[in-house]
């Protein structure tokens, strides 16, 4: 059907980005194909060491799923997106396919082993999230392809993470967001993944900041070095949410806070994530 409709067609998932964009005339698709009536596209399953989310699974369903609690980054992200009403409608597949630089899911999932399942007339294919997100508002999806499933590997024991977004109020996009995933061996960090959102055209992997943590004890010095590297890796645009300097400062602070939460969670502490408001 998408093949027949051609380039002017757009898929409608939760509609929480697309409908506002259409009202602003930033998007004027000739055809809208509503995915909401297709059965079996909304599910959360565990299998072969991974969690599997149907593309049309709502943020609220992910937030409230007991399975999601195994991967704190997922719950932090789902529970903090916009507000209750938007989480009841918006979908994980829609958010990823939209590839909004300020979207939450792409950044949160970047620190995990995430595979996107796509389907088109030529069959199904899977690709890593980092290959799926190409640019701002641009994915690897062809016009006649859609996302069917998001697969997230469950990290091994001793590994945990945190996702923090800083927002002025609930329904707006974050000013900056940070995802951290740490593999810990006692007090020493074996491996770290750090991704920065809203401060570039796509989520930015802060690889130097990751190096500052790997193989080290997470003391104040290591945290300060990681925060400084993350600040340097951010490439923010000044806009109504703040100046570029302000956003870099914000990223540095969020990175420290997220590392702290991730490390404590890796030790087995239960910490409820909350997005931060101005």
């Amino acid at each position: 059907m998408l093949g027949q409709l051609g380039e002017g067609a757009k898929l409608l998932a939760g509609g929480q980005s697309l409908i506002p964009l259409m009202k602003l005339r930033f998007a004027s698709p000739e055809h809208l194909v509503d995915l909401n009536f297709i059965s079996d596209t909304s599910f959360i399953k565990e299998g072969s060491g991974a969690l599997h989310f149907g593309a049309m699974t709502r943020h609220a369903e992910i937030e409230n799923s007991a399975l999601t609690r195994q991967i704190p980054v997922l719950r932090d992200c789902a529970a903090g997106i916009a507000d209750v009403q938007i989480r009841n409608r918006g979908t994980i597949g829609g958010s990823l396919a939209e590839a909004d630089p300020s979207g939450d899911w792409a950044n949160a999932l970047m620190t995990l082993d995430t595979t996107i399942h796509c389907l088109g007339p030529n069959g199904a294919r899977k690709l890593a999230l980092s290959d799926f997100i190409k640019d701002a508002y641009t994915t690897d999806l062809a016009n006649d392809e859609l996302v069917t499933e998001v697969e997230v590997k469950i990290p091994p024991k001793g590994s945990s993470g945190a996702y923090l977004a800083f927002k002025r109020t609930a329904p707006v996009y974050p000013s900056a967001s940070v995802a951290v995933q740490l593999a810990m061996d006692g007090d020493t960090c074996k491996d770290a993944a750090i991704s920065l959102g809203c401060v570039g055209l796509t989520p930015i992997r802060a690889s130097q900041a990751e190096k500052e943590l790997s193989g080290k004890r997470l003391d104040d010095k290591a945290l300060a070095a990681a925060a400084e590297s993350a600040r340097a890796a951010a490439d923010p645009q000044p806009d109504m949410r703040g100046s570029a300097d302000y956003k870099r400062q914000l990223v540095a602070a969020l990175v420290k806070k997220a590392i702290n939460i991730a490390a404590r969670r890796a030790r087995g502490e239960q910490i409820e994530g909350h997005h931060l408001y101005a």
Partner: protein
């Protein structure tokens, strides 16, 4: 490719407050427009029309949604609850009574949306603390009250509903 005129209409049946409404509507019609213009239920307000303020909040099969950010055709076959569906037999719903008793409103424009967000919260958590209330109504903007009396109203409503 056949040209599809935007005026081409689609038949829908949407149950609103227990009553089925069968209508032929344009696919581009928003749910809030359907409620206000097709059902004459003007209790659901349009505030910002950008998915921000929550004045248009209704329940879609029990879940709070912003009716300005969904097409009416998407609610085909669904159950919608608006503020008009809260009172029963000329008796205010405990949530409505609590908002009145606690002065949880001033101009009242945001109140229908707030009451439906409250409805979803209390149906899962009848005794919410302030942090839980803040999270539950984060998608509803009130420009008069400063929210303190709304928190009181929601806590009172929870007590009213447990007692009911």
């Amino acid at each position: 490719m056949p040209e599809v005129a935007t005026t081409e209409k689609v038949a829908v049946q949407i149950k609103v407050n227990g009553k089925p409404y069968s209508r032929e509507i344009e696919p581009r019609m928003l749910l809030v427009e359907f409620l206000r213009e097709e059902c004459d239920l003007t209790g659901t307000h349009v505030g910002c029309d950008t998915s921000y303020c929550g004045a248009c909040t209704v329940l879609l099969n029990g879940a709070a949604v912003k009716s300005c950010t969904m097409f009416a055709v998407q609610a085909d076959g669904a159950d919608i609850t608006t503020v008009e569906g809260l009172a029963k037999d000329n008796q205010l719903h405990p949530i409505q009574k609590a908002f009145g008793d606690s002065y949880g409103l001033q101009c009242g424009y945001c109140t229908p949306g707030l009451m439906l967000s409250t409805y979803q919260l209390l149906s899962k958590n009848p005794d919410p603390n302030e942090a839980e209330i803040r999270r539950a109504i984060a998608g509803n903007t009130c420009r008069c009250t400063g929210y303190m009396n709304i928190f009181k109203a929601i806590q009172q409503a929870g007590k009213n509903m447990k007692g009911a």
